[in-house]
């Protein structure tokens, strides 16, 4: 996790989210709905965004996990973290760690040319991340404060680089 290895003995019922929060003290990933509906628990699991609340820890032994705590390089924030600050992409902050991990994974998917439900031609090789594309691709992350407009602007800025 975040570049270091941890050996844990866990009840099989432990989700990846609970293992991170309760056993490793990594409280960035948040427990929102705990049913895969809100995205607050999103982490990068072997490089891909995933809901840690529906992943059993025991089923992901040996996985490479990156949480919000692992995005910055020392004191240097990840470009998406900087952009969320610059664009005021949060209010209470509860969904933000999930939003950021999801955005990191989403940009990788777009880079790989993955289409989305709003892509006009799914066979097209390249994706241009319009605001509509960003909204669709980030729909698995809810924000009860309603910071969506600024979240989209923050992601669009980084996507355009």
């Amino acid at each position: 996790m975040n570049g270091s290895e941890h050996r844990l003995v866990l009840d099989t019922r432990t989700t990846l989210l609970d293992a991170l929060r309760e056993r490793l003290g990594v409280t960035g990933p948040k427990k929102g709905c705990d049913h895969g509906q809100c995205g607050a628990c999103t982490v990068l699991l072997d490089g891909r965004r995933a809901n840690s609340c529906l992943a059993l820890a025991v089923a992901h032994q040996g996985a490479d996990i990156v949480t919000i705590e692992g995005l910055a390089a020392g004191e240097d924030l990840h470009p998406l973290q900087q952009a969320f600050i610059a664009h005021d992409g949060f209010q209470c902050g509860y969904c933000t760690p999930g939003q950021l991990c999801s955005a990191v994974g989403m940009l990788r998917e777009a880079e790989a040319g993955w289409p989305s439900a709003v892509t006009a031609d799914v066979a097209a090789e390249a994706v241009e991340l319009s605001p509509d594309e960003i909204r669709e691709r980030m729909s698995g992350n809810l924000c009860r404060c309603g910071a969506y407009v600024n979240i989209v602007a923050a992601i669009a800025e980084v996507a355009a680089r």
């Binding site: 529906l54 059993l56 089923a59 993955w114 799914v122």
Partner: protein, 330 residues
């Protein structure tokens, strides 16, 4: 959550043998539905046999142009696969219309087919439900049923199958490859899911211990112009009220071939056989599309709060086929 054992399967045969010896065991794919149902107390397995890492994770073209999709392929990988995007766009679109990016990264093809209904009464163990607890009753008929089925229902159950992916596969006539304690077999995706009748407990025709290993798509030139359209309460990340997987080939104004399947209307992905039969060989006109939709929906048994699905399904079929036929010679 009830305590359970966990095993990671080394090969399909081992996984099947383990399940065959344990009636209280189930296969675990990506877990996006099963783990949730375990949290809710709806699923109470004593043993999980993890099949998500079996070497069933490839998409390959077979001789003759068929495409074989391993059951452990993740939904996101399948949606993004170049072969699927080019030759079967309806399948990419259906996958992308389902769930969220982070759920699609976990969910497997086999798990998607085997997911359970999202009927609120099925998911709430404090409520009666004939699917969860046979004979306990179905509160949905008199209660919340706005999102439930209008076709293929019974007095015992009006649940819908929630998958988008399966609707596209139904239109494509996909073949589901299964291995089990009594050997391998192939089941059409259109025969995989059962109608509830008076025994809504079992969603599929699979026996305990039978494992989906692959889904095979036939070579189907028509599919290159196929499409998935989904109507839902919000623009993204919601289950279908009604969805449609369709493809049509029109020549000189005549329907040479057509494929139509609905989602959100039945206990299984609803292949519209009657509509197809009504259309094939006939004129590609709005009136014909409307008559075909009405033929399919004649047997709908809507409830008060989901009666809107009948005209919605009809209009969705008419509008989409008009769009798809529009660019072809009339």
């Amino acid at each position: 959550m009830r305590p359970f054992q966990y095993e990671r399967a080394a090969d399909p045969a081992g996984a099947i043998a383990t399940l065959a010896a344990r009636p209280d065991a189930v296969f675990l794919g990506g877990g996006t539905n099963l783990v949730d149902l375990m949290k809710l107390g709806v699923a109470t397995p004593r043993l999980l046999v993890d099949v998500s890492r079996l070497p069933l994770d490839r998409v390959e073209t077979l001789p003759g142009g068929r495409v074989r999709i391993g059951a452990a392929v993740r939904n996101s990988d399948l949606a993004a696969h170049p072969i699927i995007r080019r030759a079967y766009p309806v399948l990419s679109q259906a996958l992308l219309a389902g769930a969220s990016g982070q759920l699609r990264n976990l969910a497997t093809v086999g798990g998607n087919l085997m997911q359970r209904t999202r009927c609120v009464y099925f998911q709430d163990v404090t409520k009666p439900c004939n699917k969860r607890q046979p004979g306990s009753g179905c509160p949905a008929r008199a209660g919340h049923h706005r999102d439930l089925a209008i076709l293929g229902t019974s007095d015992a159950c009006v649940a819908t199958h929630p998958s988008d992916m399966a609707v596209a596969m139904a239109a494509l006539d996909a073949a589901v490859h299964v291995q089990g304690p009594r050997g391998p077999r192939v089941v059409s995706v259109n025969e995989l899911h059962r109608l509830p009748g008076d025994d809504p407990r079992r969603d599929t025709v699979l026996e305990h211990g039978e494992l989906i290993t692959a889904v095979e798509l036939p070579a189907l030139p028509l599919a290159a112009r196929s499409r998935y359209r989904k109507v839902r309460d919000r623009a993204s990340y919601a289950f279908a009220l009604v969805s449609l997987a369709s493809a049509i080939h029109v020549e000189d104004g005549v329907v040479r071939d057509v494929r139509v399947a609905f989602g959100g209307v039945g206990p299984r992905p609803w292949r519209a056989w009657r509509a197809e039969a009504a259309l094939r060989g006939g004129p590609a006109t709005e009136a014909a599309f409307r008559a075909a939709a009405e033929a399919e929906l004649a047997e709908a048994r809507p409830l008060p709060d989901n009666a809107f699905k009948v005209p919605l399904a009809r209009n969705l079929l008419v509008r989409t086929l008009l769009d798809q036929a529009g660019g072809q010679s009339r």
